[in-house]
């Protein structure tokens, strides 16, 4: 019996090229006790990783006290994965998705905008880098990502989708990383919204809907106080609920007055929300989602951006 609290981690956060930075414990199915699997300075062997990947019964944990060290270590070392030609794009995406989820969940709980922007900047570079890997299809990415209704999961997924879409539309380098980070930050204002409203299982009443509609403004306000935030990220946060016909919020601007990164974010945001489980409904299929989005494309989205996203997702469906 260990004398400290454990928190679960995904086996995808372990790598065969750098140590995990925290002691990793293992609990086989049916066992109450966890045993030390990997010391903080040890590197997992490829065989061990393969075994973990093939077994549903083994759960991994770290000490709650080492959670912060673990997050920082993952973030700081993830770049090494890109240098290693032996790791497939699929595995990199799976690992990065876990890193993004872990880091965002942790940072959103801490609720310090400076720290969030700092962490997301680094993650944005990695997400953008992954999006330019030719061997990764939109298909694989959709499969790899989690689809629960946590704001941090949603933000992570939107960042991946934005990057893939922006890369396809011709963005590269720093601009692409800026858009990826913007995707991670776009719902920052939801940290100011009461969770009872955010996670309400039933239909929102007028007052609750007004509260929800405050989040782009709240997020923008938070970001204006951080020097590191770029104009693109400010605008993605502020404008991702604007509609191409000018009937969105908070301002009601339309067409090209909406920043291109916000138009990208809008498509990614709606697609992600509809294909994820929500408190009030289950996830829709990609095909259903694209059909529903296509019905309102001329009112809601930039047509070119939406068609590009359809092509990315359909390439998966047909394969």
């Amino acid at each position: 019996m260990l004398g400290f609290a454990l928190i679960p981690i995904s086996h995808l956060t372990l790598s065969s090229i750098f140590p995990v930075g925290a002691n990793v414990y293992l609990r086989p199915k049916g066992s109450k006790d966890a045993i030390l699997f990997l010391a903080a300075d040890q590197i997992a062997t490829t065989d061990a990783l393969n075994l973990l990947a093939s077994s549903q019964d083994i759960k991994l944990f770290i000490s709650q006290d080492e959670s912060q060290t673990f997050q920082t270590h993952l973030r700081d070392n993830f770049d090494l994965c890109f240098e290693d030609g032996g790791i497939s794009a699929h595995n990199k995406a799976a690992m990065l998705s876990e890193v993004v989820r872990n880091v965002l969940s942790d940072e959103f709980i801490r609720n310090d905008t400076n720290s969030i922007v700092d962490a997301t900047k680094q993650l944005g570079v990695q997400v953008a880098r992954l999006a330019t890997e030719k061997s990764l299809t939109g298909a694989e990415l959709c499969q790899i990502l989690h689809h629960d209704f946590g704001t941090f999961t949603h933000s992570g997924n939107v960042a991946f989708y934005c990057s893939l879409l922006a890369a396809e539309l011709g963005f590269a380098g720093e601009e692409l990383a800026e858009i990826a980070t913007g995707g991670l930050l776009h719902d920052l204002g939801k940290l100011d919204i009461d969770e009872r409203v955010l996670n309400k299982p039933g239909k929102l009443d007028e007052f609750e809907f007004r509260i929800i509609k405050e989040h782009p403004l709240a997020g923008f306000r938070r970001l204006t106080k951080v020097n590191e935030a770029t104009q693109t990220q400010l605008l993605m946060t502020y404008q991702h609920h604007e509609r191409i016909d000018g009937k969105g919020y908070p301002v009601g601007i339309g067409g090209d007055d909406i920043h291109i990164a916000s138009r990208i974010c809008s498509v990614a945001d709606v697609f992600e929300a509809m294909t994820s489980n929500r408190p009030y409904r289950g996830a829709l299929s990609h095909k259903q989602t694209l059909e529903i989005m296509a019905e309102s494309v001329s009112q809601s989205f930039d047509k070119e951006v939406f068609e590009c996203w359809s092509t990315i997702v359909n390439s998966r469906l047909s394969s």
Binding site: L217, R221, V251, G252
Partner: protein
């Protein structure tokens, strides 16, 4: 005398700027019809009564380090309402929350922070500002 000078310099200044606000039909009607204290809806969190006005002002950005792409630093706008805590203007260009503006009126200038913005039509943005500093003429 001070008021006269102030008014005169204000008029000279606005003569150099173009009024580019395109008022919507409903705004034209309400600008002509509404006077006095305005009503608030239950969703607004207002701490002071607002008085309808209808006059020109100059909106000038105070903090140039927070300027968004395509924004002019100074433009002619319409003062829509005024209260002890805030001022509402109609501008042809979009301003952004947290930007600090100097709103210069014939007899007073206020420094104010943009709270919210809503587009009413082409070249027509309703901007709500919170007053953070006054500079009112002594004789006004």
């Amino acid at each position: 005398m001070l008021v006269d000078n102030r008014q005169q310099s204000f008029e000279q200044l606005i003569a150099t700027l173009d009024m580019r606000v395109q008022l919507t039909e409903s705004l034209i009607e309400s600008l002509g019809a509404e006077r006095g204290v305005t009503r608030s809806n239950p969703f607004e969190h207002r701490r002071a009564a607002r008085f309808r006005c209808n006059g020109e002002c100059i909106a000038r950005i105070s903090d140039k380090s927070f300027q968004m792409p395509g924004q002019e630093t100074e433009s002619l706008a319409i003062v829509r309402d005024l209260s002890r805590k805030g001022v509402g203007i109609i501008s042809h260009q979009q301003w952004y929350p947290e930007q600090t503006l100097e709103v210069q009126m014939p007899s007073a200038s206020v420094k104010a922070r943009v709270a919210r913005v809503r587009k009413l039509g082409p070249c027509c943005f309703e901007v709500g500002l919170i007053i953070i500093g006054h500079e009112i003429s002594e004789d006004s």
